[in-house]
Subunit: 241 residues, 2 copies
Amino acid sequence: MTAFRPAATRCLDCGLHKLCFPPSFDEHALNRISQLVAQPSAFAKNETVYRLGDSMTALYAVRSGALKTSVLLPSGEEQITGFYLPGEVIGLDNMGQSHCASTATALEKTTLCELPVNGISQLSQQLPELQGHLFQIMSTELRQDYQRMHLMAQASAEVRVVSFLLGLSARQQQRHLATNELRLSMGRADLANHLGLALETVSRALSQLADDGLIEVSGKSIRIIHAEQLAERVAADCHSS
Amino acid sequence: MTAFRPAATRCLDCGLHKLCFPPSFDEHALNRISQLVAQPSAFAKNETVYRLGDSMTALYAVRSGALKTSVLLPSGEEQITGFYLPGEVIGLDNMGQSHCASTATALEKTTLCELPVNGISQLSQQLPELQGHLFQIMSTELRQDYQRMHLMAQASAEVRVVSFLLGLSARQQQRHLATNELRLSMGRADLANHLGLALETVSRALSQLADDGLIEVSGKSIRIIHAEQLAERVAADCHSS
DNA sequence: CGTCGGGTTGAACCCGTTCAAAGGGAGTGG
DNA sequence: CCACTCCCTTTGAACGGGTTCAACCCGACG
Protein backbone atom coordinates (compact mmCIF):
# COMPACT_ATOMS: atom_id res chain seq x y z
CA MET A 1 0.00 0.00 0.00
CA THR A 2 2.42 2.60 1.13
CA ALA A 3 4.68 1.81 -1.76
CA PHE A 4 1.99 3.07 -4.11
CA ARG A 5 1.19 6.19 -2.18
CA PRO A 6 1.48 9.12 -4.56
CA ALA A 7 4.32 11.47 -3.86
CA ALA A 8 1.85 14.31 -3.39
CA THR A 9 0.68 12.89 -0.09
CA ARG A 10 4.13 13.09 1.45
CA CYS A 11 4.21 16.20 3.58
CA LEU A 12 7.86 16.69 2.76
CA ASP A 13 6.95 17.24 -0.88
CA CYS A 14 4.03 19.48 -0.12
CA GLY A 15 4.65 23.18 -0.50
CA LEU A 16 2.43 23.85 2.47
CA HIS A 17 4.24 21.80 5.11
CA LYS A 18 5.85 24.86 6.59
CA LEU A 19 2.36 26.19 7.27
CA CYS A 20 0.74 23.02 8.60
CA PHE A 21 3.80 22.35 10.74
CA PRO A 22 6.62 24.43 12.12
CA PRO A 23 9.40 25.26 9.69
CA SER A 24 11.72 23.65 12.18
CA PHE A 25 10.24 20.21 11.55
CA ASP A 26 12.95 18.02 10.11
CA GLU A 27 12.65 15.33 7.51
CA HIS A 28 12.23 12.64 10.11
CA ALA A 29 9.30 14.35 11.79
CA LEU A 30 7.60 15.06 8.49
CA ASN A 31 7.97 11.46 7.42
CA ARG A 32 6.47 10.22 10.64
CA ILE A 33 3.52 12.50 10.11
CA SER A 34 3.18 11.54 6.48
CA GLN A 35 2.63 7.95 7.54
CA LEU A 36 -0.50 9.09 9.34
CA VAL A 37 -1.92 11.23 6.61
CA ALA A 38 -4.54 9.58 4.46
CA GLN A 39 -4.90 10.27 0.78
CA PRO A 40 -6.12 13.86 0.41
CA SER A 41 -9.84 13.82 -0.09
CA ALA A 42 -11.90 16.21 -2.18
CA PHE A 43 -15.05 18.02 -1.13
CA ALA A 44 -17.49 19.83 -3.35
CA LYS A 45 -18.88 23.26 -2.58
CA ASN A 46 -21.28 23.22 0.36
CA GLU A 47 -20.25 19.68 1.28
CA THR A 48 -19.63 19.13 4.99
CA VAL A 49 -16.35 17.67 6.17
CA TYR A 50 -17.63 16.95 9.63
CA ARG A 51 -20.71 17.99 11.43
CA LEU A 52 -21.83 18.68 14.95
CA GLY A 53 -22.29 15.39 16.76
CA ASP A 54 -20.05 13.33 14.48
CA SER A 55 -17.52 11.26 16.34
CA MET A 56 -14.25 13.15 16.46
CA THR A 57 -11.76 11.20 14.39
CA ALA A 58 -9.35 13.60 12.79
CA LEU A 59 -7.92 17.02 12.25
CA TYR A 60 -7.78 18.26 8.69
CA ALA A 61 -5.16 20.35 6.96
CA VAL A 62 -6.44 22.39 4.06
CA ARG A 63 -4.57 21.54 0.89
CA SER A 64 -6.53 23.60 -1.58
CA GLY A 65 -9.78 25.51 -1.60
CA ALA A 66 -11.40 27.09 1.43
CA LEU A 67 -13.92 26.24 4.09
CA LYS A 68 -15.82 27.61 7.02
CA THR A 69 -16.38 26.23 10.47
CA SER A 70 -19.53 26.99 12.38
CA VAL A 71 -21.30 26.13 15.57
CA LEU A 72 -25.00 25.55 15.78
CA LEU A 73 -26.52 27.53 18.61
CA PRO A 74 -29.36 26.32 20.81
CA SER A 75 -31.69 28.56 18.87
CA GLY A 76 -30.82 26.78 15.64
CA GLU A 77 -28.89 29.61 14.08
CA GLU A 78 -25.40 29.21 12.76
CA GLN A 79 -22.41 31.14 14.05
CA ILE A 80 -19.47 31.01 11.68
CA THR A 81 -16.36 30.68 13.79
CA GLY A 82 -13.73 30.86 11.11
CA PHE A 83 -12.64 30.64 7.50
CA TYR A 84 -9.70 28.42 6.63
CA LEU A 85 -7.26 28.55 3.77
CA PRO A 86 -4.57 26.19 2.45
CA GLY A 87 -1.95 25.36 5.06
CA GLU A 88 -4.35 25.88 7.95
CA VAL A 89 -5.65 23.17 10.24
CA ILE A 90 -9.26 22.69 11.31
CA GLY A 91 -10.79 20.61 14.07
CA LEU A 92 -8.69 21.94 16.93
CA ASP A 93 -11.79 23.00 18.79
CA ASN A 94 -12.74 19.34 19.01
CA MET A 95 -9.39 18.09 20.36
CA GLY A 96 -9.85 15.90 23.37
CA GLN A 97 -13.58 15.58 22.74
CA SER A 98 -15.28 12.40 21.63
CA HIS A 99 -17.69 14.22 19.36
CA CYS A 100 -17.49 17.24 17.13
CA ALA A 101 -18.93 20.42 18.57
CA SER A 102 -18.74 22.26 15.29
CA THR A 103 -19.35 21.80 11.61
CA ALA A 104 -16.93 22.34 8.74
CA THR A 105 -18.29 23.14 5.30
CA ALA A 106 -16.41 23.58 2.04
CA LEU A 107 -16.91 27.00 0.46
CA GLU A 108 -15.65 25.77 -2.88
CA LYS A 109 -13.99 22.70 -4.33
CA THR A 110 -11.58 21.79 -1.56
CA THR A 111 -9.05 19.08 -0.82
CA LEU A 112 -8.03 18.14 2.70
CA CYS A 113 -5.34 16.04 4.31
CA GLU A 114 -6.80 13.93 7.08
CA LEU A 115 -4.78 13.70 10.30
CA PRO A 116 -6.30 10.90 12.40
CA VAL A 117 -6.51 12.16 15.93
CA ASN A 118 -5.42 8.90 17.51
CA GLY A 119 -2.27 8.82 15.46
CA ILE A 120 -1.58 12.48 16.09
CA SER A 121 -2.01 12.08 19.83
CA GLN A 122 0.26 9.09 19.96
CA LEU A 123 2.86 10.62 17.72
CA SER A 124 2.93 13.76 19.76
CA GLN A 125 3.85 11.62 22.75
CA GLN A 126 6.99 10.71 20.87
CA LEU A 127 7.73 13.97 19.15
CA PRO A 128 7.82 16.82 21.67
CA GLU A 129 8.00 19.27 18.80
CA LEU A 130 4.67 18.02 17.49
CA GLN A 131 3.04 18.35 20.88
CA GLY A 132 4.47 21.81 21.20
CA HIS A 133 3.18 22.67 17.79
CA LEU A 134 -0.32 21.54 18.65
CA PHE A 135 -0.25 23.59 21.84
CA GLN A 136 0.99 26.50 19.85
CA ILE A 137 -1.64 26.50 17.15
CA MET A 138 -4.37 26.00 19.72
CA SER A 139 -3.12 28.85 21.87
CA THR A 140 -2.73 30.97 18.77
CA GLU A 141 -6.36 30.35 17.92
CA LEU A 142 -7.26 31.35 21.45
CA ARG A 143 -5.36 34.60 21.15
CA GLN A 144 -6.85 35.35 17.78
CA ASP A 145 -10.28 34.73 19.24
CA TYR A 146 -9.60 37.32 21.90
CA GLN A 147 -8.84 39.89 19.28
CA ARG A 148 -11.91 38.93 17.33
CA MET A 149 -13.96 39.14 20.49
CA HIS A 150 -12.78 42.65 21.09
CA LEU A 151 -13.59 43.43 17.49
CA MET A 152 -17.11 42.11 17.90
CA ALA A 153 -17.58 43.88 21.17
CA GLN A 154 -16.17 47.29 20.46
CA ALA A 155 -15.36 47.95 16.86
CA SER A 156 -17.48 49.72 14.28
CA ALA A 157 -18.71 47.92 11.21
CA GLU A 158 -16.03 49.49 9.06
CA VAL A 159 -13.25 48.45 11.38
CA ARG A 160 -14.54 44.90 11.51
CA VAL A 161 -14.57 44.63 7.76
CA VAL A 162 -11.17 46.25 7.36
CA SER A 163 -9.67 43.99 10.01
CA PHE A 164 -11.00 41.00 8.18
CA LEU A 165 -9.56 42.14 4.89
CA LEU A 166 -6.16 42.91 6.38
CA GLY A 167 -6.17 39.57 8.18
CA LEU A 168 -6.89 37.81 4.92
CA SER A 169 -4.15 39.76 3.25
CA ALA A 170 -1.68 38.75 5.95
CA ARG A 171 -2.63 35.11 5.55
CA GLN A 172 -2.09 35.35 1.82
CA GLN A 173 1.35 36.73 2.50
CA GLN A 174 2.16 33.66 4.59
CA ARG A 175 1.26 31.59 1.57
CA HIS A 176 3.44 33.82 -0.63
CA LEU A 177 0.53 35.19 -2.57
CA ALA A 178 -0.14 38.77 -3.51
CA THR A 179 -1.25 40.75 -0.47
CA ASN A 180 -3.42 43.20 -2.35
CA GLU A 181 -5.53 40.85 -4.44
CA LEU A 182 -8.15 39.08 -2.35
CA ARG A 183 -10.74 36.64 -3.54
CA LEU A 184 -13.46 36.10 -0.97
CA SER A 185 -14.57 32.51 -1.18
CA MET A 186 -17.57 33.17 1.05
CA GLY A 187 -20.70 35.14 0.29
CA ARG A 188 -21.66 38.37 1.99
CA ALA A 189 -24.07 36.55 4.26
CA ASP A 190 -21.35 34.28 5.66
CA LEU A 191 -19.02 37.21 6.03
CA ALA A 192 -21.67 39.21 7.87
CA ASN A 193 -22.43 36.29 10.15
CA HIS A 194 -18.77 35.86 10.97
CA LEU A 195 -18.29 39.54 11.70
CA GLY A 196 -21.47 39.82 13.74
CA LEU A 197 -23.07 42.31 11.39
CA ALA A 198 -26.09 42.47 9.16
CA LEU A 199 -25.49 41.49 5.57
CA GLU A 200 -26.43 44.95 4.42
CA THR A 201 -23.97 46.57 6.77
CA VAL A 202 -21.08 44.61 5.32
CA SER A 203 -22.12 45.60 1.85
CA ARG A 204 -22.36 49.25 2.88
CA ALA A 205 -18.95 49.17 4.54
CA LEU A 206 -17.33 47.71 1.44
CA SER A 207 -19.04 50.28 -0.75
CA GLN A 208 -17.90 53.07 1.54
CA LEU A 209 -14.31 51.87 1.47
CA ALA A 210 -14.50 51.65 -2.31
CA ASP A 211 -15.96 55.16 -2.51
CA ASP A 212 -13.08 56.38 -0.39
CA GLY A 213 -10.69 54.81 -2.87
CA LEU A 214 -9.08 52.46 -0.36
CA ILE A 215 -10.18 49.29 -2.09
CA GLU A 216 -11.78 48.15 -5.30
CA VAL A 217 -14.70 45.77 -5.04
CA SER A 218 -15.93 43.55 -7.81
CA GLY A 219 -18.14 40.83 -6.44
CA LYS A 220 -15.96 38.40 -4.55
CA SER A 221 -12.74 39.98 -5.79
CA ILE A 222 -11.28 42.78 -3.76
CA ARG A 223 -8.20 44.78 -4.51
CA ILE A 224 -6.48 46.63 -1.71
CA ILE A 225 -5.31 50.01 -2.92
CA HIS A 226 -4.05 51.67 0.23
CA ALA A 227 -3.18 49.11 2.86
CA GLU A 228 -1.65 51.76 5.11
CA GLN A 229 -4.76 53.90 5.14
CA LEU A 230 -6.84 50.85 5.93
CA ALA A 231 -4.58 50.08 8.86
CA GLU A 232 -4.86 53.69 9.97
CA ARG A 233 -8.63 53.46 10.12
CA VAL A 234 -8.41 50.47 12.40
CA ALA A 235 -5.89 52.22 14.60
CA ALA A 236 -7.92 55.42 14.59
CA ASP A 237 -11.01 53.65 15.79
CA CYS A 238 -9.09 51.99 18.58
CA HIS A 239 -7.54 55.25 19.61
CA SER A 240 -10.79 57.16 19.64
CA SER A 241 -12.53 54.70 21.90
CA MET B 1 12.92 19.84 50.61
CA THR B 2 10.14 17.60 49.42
CA ALA B 3 10.03 15.90 52.76
CA PHE B 4 8.96 19.18 54.32
CA ARG B 5 6.43 20.08 51.70
CA PRO B 6 3.14 20.79 53.45
CA ALA B 7 0.39 18.30 52.78
CA ALA B 8 -1.76 21.06 51.38
CA THR B 9 0.34 21.27 48.26
CA ARG B 10 -0.33 17.68 47.30
CA CYS B 11 -2.97 17.71 44.62
CA LEU B 12 -4.38 14.47 45.95
CA ASP B 13 -5.31 16.21 49.17
CA CYS B 14 -6.72 19.27 47.48
CA GLY B 15 -10.45 19.39 47.20
CA LEU B 16 -10.13 21.03 43.80
CA HIS B 17 -8.11 18.38 42.02
CA LYS B 18 -11.17 17.05 40.23
CA LEU B 19 -11.57 20.49 38.72
CA CYS B 20 -7.95 21.18 37.80
CA PHE B 21 -7.59 17.70 36.39
CA PRO B 22 -9.99 15.05 35.13
CA PRO B 23 -11.77 13.07 37.82
CA SER B 24 -10.32 9.99 36.14
CA PHE B 25 -6.79 10.93 37.18
CA ASP B 26 -5.50 8.24 39.50
CA GLU B 27 -3.28 8.61 42.51
CA HIS B 28 -0.18 7.98 40.48
CA ALA B 29 -0.90 10.73 37.99
CA LEU B 30 -1.77 13.19 40.73
CA ASN B 31 1.43 12.42 42.56
CA ARG B 32 3.48 12.97 39.44
CA ILE B 33 1.82 16.31 38.98
CA SER B 34 2.22 17.23 42.61
CA GLN B 35 5.97 16.91 42.22
CA LEU B 36 5.84 19.73 39.73
CA VAL B 37 3.62 22.07 41.65
CA ALA B 38 5.41 24.72 43.60
CA GLN B 39 4.21 25.98 46.94
CA PRO B 40 1.00 27.91 46.34
CA SER B 41 1.77 31.58 46.16
CA ALA B 42 -0.43 34.43 47.32
CA PHE B 43 -1.32 37.56 45.41
CA ALA B 44 -2.90 40.71 46.74
CA LYS B 45 -5.76 42.50 45.07
CA ASN B 46 -4.70 44.15 41.80
CA GLU B 47 -1.39 42.34 41.83
CA THR B 48 -0.38 40.85 38.48
CA VAL B 49 0.51 37.17 38.22
CA TYR B 50 2.06 37.53 34.82
CA ARG B 51 2.04 40.31 32.33
CA LEU B 52 2.20 40.76 28.60
CA GLY B 53 5.77 40.21 27.48
CA ASP B 54 6.87 38.19 30.49
CA SER B 55 8.62 34.99 29.57
CA MET B 56 6.13 32.16 29.64
CA THR B 57 7.11 29.86 32.46
CA ALA B 58 4.01 28.32 33.93
CA LEU B 59 0.32 27.66 33.98
CA TYR B 60 -1.49 28.51 37.18
CA ALA B 61 -4.36 26.74 38.87
CA VAL B 62 -6.54 28.97 41.03
CA ARG B 63 -6.66 27.69 44.57
CA SER B 64 -8.62 30.48 46.19
CA GLY B 65 -9.73 33.95 45.25
CA ALA B 66 -10.41 35.16 41.73
CA LEU B 67 -8.59 36.85 38.90
CA LYS B 68 -9.02 38.28 35.47
CA THR B 69 -7.00 37.82 32.31
CA SER B 70 -6.73 40.57 29.78
CA VAL B 71 -4.99 41.44 26.55
CA LEU B 72 -3.58 44.84 25.89
CA LEU B 73 -4.61 46.08 22.50
CA PRO B 74 -2.43 48.14 20.19
CA SER B 75 -4.42 51.19 21.20
CA GLY B 76 -3.50 50.69 24.81
CA GLU B 77 -6.92 49.70 26.03
CA GLU B 78 -7.54 46.54 27.94
CA GLN B 79 -9.82 43.74 26.81
CA ILE B 80 -10.74 41.40 29.63
CA THR B 81 -10.74 37.90 28.22
CA GLY B 82 -11.94 35.99 31.24
CA PHE B 83 -12.55 35.69 34.94
CA TYR B 84 -11.21 32.66 36.75
CA LEU B 85 -12.33 30.93 39.91
CA PRO B 86 -10.85 28.19 42.13
CA GLY B 87 -10.20 24.98 40.24
CA GLU B 88 -9.71 26.74 36.93
CA VAL B 89 -6.43 27.00 35.05
CA ILE B 90 -5.00 30.15 33.49
CA GLY B 91 -2.22 30.66 31.00
CA LEU B 92 -3.44 28.28 28.32
CA ASP B 93 -3.47 31.06 25.77
CA ASN B 94 0.29 31.26 26.17
CA MET B 95 0.98 27.55 25.72
CA GLY B 96 3.69 26.95 23.18
CA GLN B 97 4.71 30.61 23.22
CA SER B 98 7.94 31.90 24.62
CA HIS B 99 6.34 35.04 26.03
CA CYS B 100 3.01 35.85 27.58
CA ALA B 101 0.52 37.51 25.28
CA SER B 102 -1.86 38.33 28.08
CA THR B 103 -1.91 39.65 31.61
CA ALA B 104 -3.42 38.03 34.69
CA THR B 105 -4.47 40.22 37.60
CA ALA B 106 -5.84 39.20 40.97
CA LEU B 107 -9.28 40.63 41.69
CA GLU B 108 -8.94 39.92 45.39
CA LYS B 109 -6.57 38.09 47.69
CA THR B 110 -5.76 35.01 45.63
CA THR B 111 -3.58 31.92 45.94
CA LEU B 112 -2.32 30.02 42.92
CA CYS B 113 -0.62 26.70 42.28
CA GLU B 114 2.18 27.13 39.79
CA LEU B 115 2.49 24.48 37.10
CA PRO B 116 5.87 24.98 35.38
CA VAL B 117 5.30 24.66 31.70
CA ASN B 118 8.47 22.69 31.04
CA GLY B 119 7.50 20.10 33.58
CA ILE B 120 3.95 19.94 32.32
CA SER B 121 5.04 19.49 28.73
CA GLN B 122 7.48 16.74 29.63
CA LEU B 123 5.07 14.98 31.93
CA SER B 124 2.35 15.05 29.30
CA GLN B 125 4.74 13.14 27.03
CA GLN B 126 4.63 10.36 29.57
CA LEU B 127 1.01 10.60 30.68
CA PRO B 128 -1.29 10.48 27.68
CA GLU B 129 -4.17 11.35 29.98
CA LEU B 130 -2.49 14.61 30.91
CA GLN B 131 -1.86 15.52 27.30
CA GLY B 132 -5.44 14.68 26.51
CA HIS B 133 -6.58 16.82 29.40
CA LEU B 134 -4.59 19.80 28.20
CA PHE B 135 -6.01 19.43 24.71
CA GLN B 136 -9.42 19.16 26.23
CA ILE B 137 -9.34 22.26 28.38
CA MET B 138 -7.84 24.26 25.55
CA SER B 139 -10.46 23.10 23.10
CA THR B 140 -13.12 23.75 25.71
CA GLU B 141 -11.90 27.32 26.03
CA LEU B 142 -12.04 27.62 22.27
CA ARG B 143 -15.63 26.45 22.20
CA GLN B 144 -16.62 28.74 25.05
CA ASP B 145 -15.03 31.61 23.21
CA TYR B 146 -17.21 30.86 20.20
CA GLN B 147 -20.29 31.16 22.35
CA ARG B 148 -19.04 34.35 23.89
CA MET B 149 -18.25 35.71 20.47
CA HIS B 150 -21.79 35.07 19.36
CA LEU B 151 -22.99 36.74 22.52
CA MET B 152 -20.89 39.81 21.83
CA ALA B 153 -21.92 39.89 18.21
CA GLN B 154 -25.62 39.30 18.43
CA ALA B 155 -27.04 39.40 21.90
CA SER B 156 -28.73 42.31 23.64
CA ALA B 157 -27.24 43.84 26.74
CA GLU B 158 -29.69 42.01 28.97
CA VAL B 159 -28.91 38.64 27.44
CA ARG B 160 -25.19 39.22 27.82
CA VAL B 161 -25.54 40.03 31.49
CA VAL B 162 -27.91 37.14 32.14
CA SER B 163 -25.63 34.71 30.33
CA PHE B 164 -22.76 35.86 32.45
CA LEU B 165 -24.71 35.39 35.66
CA LEU B 166 -25.95 31.95 34.67
CA GLY B 167 -22.45 30.95 33.61
CA LEU B 168 -21.13 32.03 36.97
CA SER B 169 -23.88 30.11 38.68
CA ALA B 170 -23.02 26.97 36.72
CA ARG B 171 -19.36 27.30 37.68
CA GLN B 172 -20.32 27.64 41.32
CA GLN B 173 -22.30 24.45 41.00
CA GLN B 174 -19.20 22.65 39.75
CA ARG B 175 -17.50 23.78 42.91
CA HIS B 176 -20.47 22.58 44.94
CA LEU B 177 -21.47 26.05 46.04
CA ALA B 178 -24.91 27.56 46.10
CA THR B 179 -26.08 28.34 42.59
CA ASN B 180 -28.26 31.27 43.51
CA GLU B 181 -25.88 33.33 45.61
CA LEU B 182 -23.25 35.06 43.51
CA ARG B 183 -20.55 37.40 44.64
CA LEU B 184 -19.01 39.34 41.81
CA SER B 185 -15.36 39.79 42.56
CA MET B 186 -14.96 42.30 39.75
CA GLY B 187 -16.28 45.84 39.52
CA ARG B 188 -18.92 47.00 37.08
CA ALA B 189 -16.27 48.46 34.82
CA ASP B 190 -14.47 45.14 34.41
CA LEU B 191 -17.73 43.35 33.88
CA ALA B 192 -18.78 45.83 31.22
CA ASN B 193 -15.43 45.55 29.48
CA HIS B 194 -15.67 41.77 29.44
CA LEU B 195 -19.20 41.82 28.06
CA GLY B 196 -18.45 44.47 25.48
CA LEU B 197 -20.87 46.98 26.96
CA ALA B 198 -20.74 50.39 28.51
CA LEU B 199 -20.52 50.45 32.27
CA GLU B 200 -23.86 52.22 32.47
CA THR B 201 -25.55 49.62 30.33
CA VAL B 202 -24.52 46.83 32.66
CA SER B 203 -25.82 48.77 35.60
CA ARG B 204 -29.12 49.39 33.84
CA ALA B 205 -29.50 45.74 32.86
CA LEU B 206 -28.94 44.63 36.44
CA SER B 207 -31.41 47.21 37.71
CA GLN B 208 -33.97 46.10 35.15
CA LEU B 209 -33.59 42.44 36.11
CA ALA B 210 -33.97 43.41 39.74
CA ASP B 211 -37.09 45.47 38.98
CA ASP B 212 -38.54 42.45 37.21
CA GLY B 213 -37.94 40.42 40.32
CA LEU B 214 -35.61 37.92 38.69
CA ILE B 215 -32.60 38.80 40.79
CA GLU B 216 -31.67 40.82 43.84
CA VAL B 217 -28.72 43.15 43.55
CA SER B 218 -26.77 44.54 46.43
CA GLY B 219 -23.45 45.88 45.27
CA LYS B 220 -21.28 42.94 44.33
CA SER B 221 -23.71 40.41 45.81
CA ILE B 222 -26.37 39.05 43.53
CA ARG B 223 -29.09 36.60 44.41
CA ILE B 224 -30.78 34.68 41.63
CA ILE B 225 -34.50 34.42 42.32
CA HIS B 226 -35.88 32.83 39.17
CA ALA B 227 -33.15 30.97 37.31
CA GLU B 228 -35.66 29.47 34.88
CA GLN B 229 -37.05 32.83 33.87
CA LEU B 230 -33.53 34.11 33.34
CA ALA B 231 -32.77 31.17 31.08
CA GLU B 232 -36.00 31.84 29.23
CA ARG B 233 -34.95 35.37 28.45
CA VAL B 234 -31.74 34.13 26.90
CA ALA B 235 -33.59 31.51 24.87
CA ALA B 236 -36.24 34.02 23.87
CA ASP B 237 -33.66 36.42 22.54
CA CYS B 238 -32.00 33.68 20.54
CA HIS B 239 -35.30 32.56 19.10
CA SER B 240 -36.40 36.01 18.12
CA SER B 241 -33.27 36.70 16.12
C1' DC C 1 -18.89 66.36 58.37
C1' DG C 2 -16.73 66.48 53.89
C1' DT C 3 -14.57 64.06 50.28
C1' DC C 4 -13.80 60.45 47.09
C1' DG C 5 -14.65 56.41 44.13
C1' DG C 6 -17.89 53.39 42.44
C1' DG C 7 -22.58 52.76 41.16
C1' DT C 8 -27.10 54.40 39.50
C1' DT C 9 -30.29 57.18 36.84
C1' DG C 10 -31.66 60.46 33.11
C1' DA C 11 -31.84 62.40 28.23
C1' DA C 12 -30.03 63.08 23.56
C1' DC C 13 -27.42 61.29 19.92
C1' DC C 14 -25.53 57.82 16.71
C1' DC C 15 -24.72 53.67 14.46
C1' DG C 16 -26.36 49.42 12.93
C1' DT C 17 -30.55 46.95 12.11
C1' DT C 18 -34.67 46.18 9.77
C1' DC C 19 -37.84 46.33 6.17
C1' DA C 20 -38.33 47.34 1.41
C1' DA C 21 -37.02 47.76 -3.30
C1' DA C 22 -33.92 48.07 -7.03
C1' DG C 23 -29.61 46.53 -9.36
C1' DG C 24 -26.56 43.10 -11.54
C1' DG C 25 -24.29 38.85 -13.07
C1' DA C 26 -24.34 33.89 -14.08
C1' DG C 27 -26.80 30.16 -15.88
C1' DT C 28 -30.62 28.38 -18.65
C1' DG C 29 -33.58 27.95 -22.47
C1' DG C 30 -35.41 29.76 -26.64
C1' DC D 1 -27.08 35.58 -29.48
C1' DC D 2 -30.50 37.34 -26.72
C1' DA D 3 -34.12 37.17 -23.13
C1' DC D 4 -35.50 35.54 -18.90
C1' DT D 5 -35.00 34.16 -14.29
C1' DC D 6 -32.99 33.46 -9.95
C1' DC D 7 -30.07 34.66 -6.39
C1' DC D 8 -26.82 37.49 -4.51
C1' DT D 9 -25.71 42.15 -3.77
C1' DT D 10 -26.47 46.99 -3.38
C1' DT D 11 -29.02 51.02 -2.04
C1' DG D 12 -32.61 53.64 0.50
C1' DA D 13 -35.28 55.21 4.68
C1' DA D 14 -37.05 54.68 9.30
C1' DC D 15 -36.66 52.53 13.73
C1' DG D 16 -34.44 51.19 18.10
C1' DG D 17 -31.00 49.88 21.42
C1' DG D 18 -26.62 51.22 23.33
C1' DT D 19 -23.48 54.83 23.98
C1' DT D 20 -22.33 59.13 25.61
C1' DC D 21 -22.39 63.00 28.54
C1' DA D 22 -24.06 64.63 32.72
C1' DA D 23 -25.97 64.73 37.20
C1' DC D 24 -27.03 62.35 41.28
C1' DC D 25 -26.64 58.88 44.96
C1' DC D 26 -24.40 56.26 48.44
C1' DG D 27 -21.25 53.99 51.46
C1' DA D 28 -16.33 54.16 53.00
C1' DC D 29 -12.84 56.62 54.98
C1' DG D 30 -10.37 60.42 56.77
